[in-house]
Amino acid sequence: MPMVNRRLNVNRIAVHAALIFYTLIATFPIALVLINSMKSRNAIFSNPLSLPGPGTFDPVGYTQVLEKADFGLYFGNSLIVTVVSLAAVLIAGAMAAWALGEYRFKGNTIVALYMAIGIMVPIRLGTVSILKMVVGMGLINTLTALILVYTAMGLPLAILILGEFMAQIPRDLREAARCDGVSEYRIFTEVILPLIRPAVATVAVFTMVPIWNDLWFPLILASGDGKQTVTLGAQQFIGQYVTNWNAVLAALSLAIAPILVLYIAFSRHLVRGLTMGAVK
């Protein structure tokens, strides 16, 4: 190798060392939990760093968790809330983003700004009123309440992302359809919607992750038996069994696993979406 590189190579080693160091910091705690969730209580204490092996493997934590808490139900609740909210956000958001970006009408800018406020101002601050409203509507302790709130929460950012994406669709496609006399509704559903599929992944991640991981609204609006989300359920369970380390570790692992799997499967899309849309 030419010697010009030697200077750069030394730097490369330092770069990788720094990155590996921080990556360990970032992943070690998670790995620790996963490993120890499958070990016996003794092994957890005496040998935290070891992998579960013949002497130490013990799924007692998991059996306890699955007995005492209905994680299947919690998981189902989270899934329903997250997926339905995402669908609502995508449909309503795409329609709004389209209208705001495509048509010039009186008050277009104002409406756009109005919808964008939600990005900067957190919806939680209105919780006092939201609670009042939800109770008044008879929706307390329902998943519906969560869905409505999360949809409102996710719309501003979704409209921003989808709007930016739609702006890149070539003019000509829409003009051609209009020349053919196609109605605006059909242009939207048959021309525009299929073309924004790449942006859907980005919106999905930005919308779903905060919803899945949220503790505040499930705690306040839907904490009753049978309606807990996985996040709330895990928190309640851990709070209750805090000295039972096996169970606690198992519960944490159960809550981590779905997200981890999804994340690793879609990480490329996510990063690409972020790097595309982030240049604002």
Binding site: P2, M3, V4, N5
Partner: protein, 368 residues
């Protein structure tokens, strides 16, 4: 000012070799243009000279010193990029002065050089502006100014005119030529446009697929292309190529048959040619005229006529399907669809073998 010398430079990215052993010399003060189609390796060669790419094997010397391991800043080069690469957050002044900071030039000297360069390039009124407030042509000049202030031994230009509109391109071309004469600096210039190459270069290096096809002065390449690629690349419109077969080859002379009435003797050395061998005749459009006046006549149907005012280009489709372009005076009356004969003097012919290599002419018949 310095010589630049490349000896068997090879460049590979992993397993893929993009430069297959380039050797050439650029003498002090010369204006060398690397020209060729996209992907031929000219930009890679330039970046290697600049030090922005590593050399896989071979030797690069600047000013007599081998510089393979020397970082760009210490090679005595300055580069003008296709996209200008101006620092958007700095003023024009700071853009031009940036490099001098690292050359450890003192402040007064740096200021003097920047202002002098601004003078030459008519940038003085813009020194405190940012690049986004300048037009394309002005940005181009700032990029050139940034190179000038470093007083390099070698100037490197990477397709600097590609992003300019046609009129600006011509003006800037003239400016660059003037600058070269004023500074008398060794210049290496990369372009895909053969017109730029012909007008600016004192020496042209034609490249194709990682190899040097031919090196020479512009008119040299025009009159004596060594292979079919160079012949087709230099000159616009492109040279006409007519497939032919050797019918007789005796020591000093050749006769070929090319799908018209009778075989034609042509003034090329017959050594090494075999009867029945496939060859290609080359005729430049400007040497091919309407009518059957000259020695070599071709016939066909007029497919299109392009009137440019000072000339007309008549496109003729021969019966075997090949397309010819002939240059006619501006008032040509050739009609689309009509049969036409076009002809040229055999002295204007080029001949290439099946591998594309040019046959040498008889010495007494050197074309004018």
């Amino acid at each position: 000012m310095a010589d630049v010398s490349l000896r068997n430079i090879k460049k590979a990215y992993g397993k893929v070799e993009v430069l297959h052993g380039i050797s050439l010399d650029v003498k002090d003060g010369e204006f060398a243009v690397f020209v060729g189609p996209s992907g031929c390796g000219k930009s890679t060669a330039l970046r290697i000279i600049a030090g922005l790419e590593e050399i896989t094997s071979g030797e690069l010397s600047i000013g007599g010193k081998v510089v393979n391991q020397v970082p760009p800043a210490e090679r005595g080069i300055a580069m003008v990029f296709q996209s200008y690469a101006l620092y958007p957050h700095m003023t024009v002044y700071k853009n031009m002065a940036f490099g001098l900071k690292f050359a450890k030039t003192n402040k007064e000297e740096a200021d003097k050089r920047v202002r002098q360069a601004a003078e030459i390039l008519q940038l003085t009124p813009y020194l405190e502006r940012k690049p986004r407030d300048l037009s394309g042509g002005q940005r181009q000049r700032v990029a050139i100014g940034r190179a000038i202030v470093r007083e390099p031994a070698v100037f490197l230009f990477d397709e600097p005119l590609s992003n300019l509109d046609a009129a600006l391109r011509i003006n800037t071309r003239i400016e660059i030529a003037k600058l070269h004469r004023a500074l008398n600096a060794t210049t290496i210039y990369v372009t895909h446009d053969q017109v730029e190459a012909m007008t600016l270069a004192s020496k042209i290096v034609v490249m194709n697929q990682g190899r040097v096809e031919q090196v020479g002065a512009p008119l040299d390449l025009y009159h004596h292309p060594q292979n079919q690629f160079v012949a087709g690349f230099i000159g616009s419109p492109k040279m006409n190529f007519v497939p032919a077969k050797v019918v007789a080859a005796e020591g000093g002379s050749l006769a070929v048959e090319f799908g018209e009435a009778r075989p034609l003797p042509i003034p090329f050395s017959g050594a090494g040619a075999q009867p029945g061998q496939s060859v290609t005749l080359g005729i430049r459009p400007e040497h091919l005229g309407e009518g059957a006046r000259h020695g070599m006549v071709l016939t066909g149907t007029v497919e299109a006529v392009e009137h440019l005012g000072e000339a007309s280009y008549v496109h003729v489709r021969r019966d075997d399907g090949t397309l010819l372009t002939a240059r006619s005076p501006g008032d040509s009356r050739a009609e689309i669809g009509s049969r036409i004969s076009v002809s040229t003097d055999v002295d204007h012919l080029h001949l290439f073998d099946a591998q594309g290599q040019a046959f040498p002419r008889h010495s007494k018949a050197d074309a004018a």
